[in-house]
Amino acid sequence: MNLRLSSPYTVWLILVAATLASYLFQLKAIGRHPQQLGTAVLLIAFFKVRLIGMRYMELHDSTLALRLAFDAWVAIMAITLVILFRMA
């Protein structure tokens, strides 16, 4: 198995590990404040989103405009949701 980030298998391993980490946070396996856990869950989700976009959608070597548009969506959504969910 090719373990470079360019390998789809490596990307999948990172995505699965990140998903399991989020699931453990949800189970409150570590003694943190719910707001901190929630922020971690959201940030991990958007990390996964960016990884899927850059690697599986092949945006990593696409035009700058396309990459910037996708990154802008990811950043705006992540910041907005983290703020909204922390305000509740």
Binding site: V16, Q26, K48, V49, D61, S62, T80, F85, A88
Partner: protein, 203 residues
Amino acid sequence: MKPVEILSEPTMAQPASAPAGQRVPGEPGLWVMIFGDLLAFGLFFVTFGVYRLSQSATFAASQARLNQGLGLLNTMLLLTSSLAIAIAVKALRERRLNDARQATHIGMALGFGFVGVKTIEYGEKFAAGITPISNDFFMFYFAFTAIHLLHVLVGLGALTFIRSRCAAVPTANGYKAVEGCAIFWHLVDILWVILFAILYLHP
């Protein structure tokens, strides 16, 4: 020019390639739809967050009634399906048609698995008397996941198209169409990753 060059091997077309940084995966017009979908779902997520501000107790109690295990299973199914389709596209570019076909079959089977799990989950909810009119949380839950499920079904149609392109080496335009279908399938994955986080996991 020799006649043999004029008629040379239309089925052996290379995948459309451009230097790194100048490439647009799939058809350029497809990205209008992809970003339109991302913006629409972005509005859905923000609306959910705004409603959650004034009903945090209701949303927390309702979230506790979701089946996190099935949500996790569905996440794994879609992530693995995305892997299979990424492998299929790579195999098709390298003209390994059998590998591309097998990977597409796996991707489709996992996609159908997602639909099956979602059906079970909806059944659980209805059996427990939970419906879209139970409260705002479940209104969002059913609306978002149903719209996403519709995307999964359209995506399965796109994967069927990829499967149909595995019979012979595609033309340059054929590669673009395959890339586009794969990109849509990965979009389905992206949307679910966020739905899983905000509906099932966020404490």
